[in-house]
Subunit: 217 residues, 2 copies
Amino acid sequence: MAEKMADKIVPRMASGTTPRAAAKPRKEMIAETKAKLIAAARHAFATQGYAEASMDDFTAGAGLTRGALYHHFGDKKGLLMAVIMQMDAEMSDRLSAISSRAETPWQAFVDECVAFIEMSLEPEIQRIMLLDGPAVLGDPSQWPNQSACIRATTASLQKLIDKGTIRPVDAEATARLVNGATLSAALWIANAEDPDTVSKKAVEVFLTLVSGLLVER
Amino acid sequence: MAEKMADKIVPRMASGTTPRAAAKPRKEMIAETKAKLIAAARHAFATQGYAEASMDDFTAGAGLTRGALYHHFGDKKGLLMAVIMQMDAEMSDRLSAISSRAETPWQAFVDECVAFIEMSLEPEIQRIMLLDGPAVLGDPSQWPNQSACIRATTASLQKLIDKGTIRPVDAEATARLVNGATLSAALWIANAEDPDTVSKKAVEVFLTLVSGLLVER
DNA sequence: AGGACTTACATACGCTGCGTATGTGAGCTA
DNA sequence: TAGCTCACATACGCAGCGTATGTAAGTCCT
């Protein structure tokens, strides 16, 4: 993937006022450029890690230069932020789709958490969202979108509290701790020699822990 | 701390076959050099972050050059690893001291967890152990010492299982999830506008969660 | 005791990669 | 259609890392 045609050696379209066709409006061109940069960065960050990914390399891979990057995102961190926002939005969508399919609110909550663990096993998510993101941009709870995933979990928990299924704890606090536990579990599983066994253990313990939230077991 | 006399401006002792005194044995000099490098790096990593800390700068601060660093630690990552091992050992000591003071095994476990949260609020620990460490060196569970803190928690939990206080779950898995939850809580608290309130919420939720481990509430 | 070897560093060099200042041509506006 | 704006590309300087090399102090052996 990545090079499409490889014929667009020259950035932009070089010369000729684009004789015909391709008469894209300005806004569209910009959105396209941004999307290309984000996609290229996302791939580079995922495979090489943030620090090791060269801006020159992956911008060139997108048929652009660092000039475009600085123009649109300010700096490397800005681009990482954009990548993270995109990924977080996708994760949030996936999570809400999953929880909406559940039959009970409690099951929705559990399904969400399990899905989060599974997503965290994906190398791209683990590398960018869980490892480099916090290190480069600081605590995720301070990010602009404030981690849509956390908000989703918080909402699920609040429903359970309202329904009286779980004890009246602070929903956001619970979401954060639960999220931390699942995150840690995911890292552990992903790096274990025997992911299957480890995964089973983790889920069992997870269910035991959250059973502490229930009003009645 | 750190600079002792500040008179040793010149690296080593420059010239003169050390006229008298200071006739330290080789091993001691080396250990001292290593310790100075680790201390300098630890301070730089904590205050500026791993990526922003210049090896030239902090080695010079220790009265040495990058040559010494590469000789003893291989590269920047090697030095980070050494720093982390030192800090982990210290944390482990602090934790075991705390748990040994508790009256019951359950209280020991809870005290340990709370202490871990409190330690995670210290900027040095948060920055190096929780943010940069995982990003640069990968999953903590794969580090050489394998995080002595986790082992301590695992041991505490195993005691509780043996005593029949908590349900017979997998001790290590529980330790990891609990550790992840506390870590997340710590990050949240440390970056919150109102740490006190947030802290209380977090502890409350934490206790609720781990109550799920108990055989009988 | 003194010479040869080893080692714990310092010094010198090249290269990569980021950030900024500047140039330029294609679109929007009047 | 002239002029302005903006989305990029190009050019440059500099910091920081890694390596190759130099050197003096310590250690070993006789």
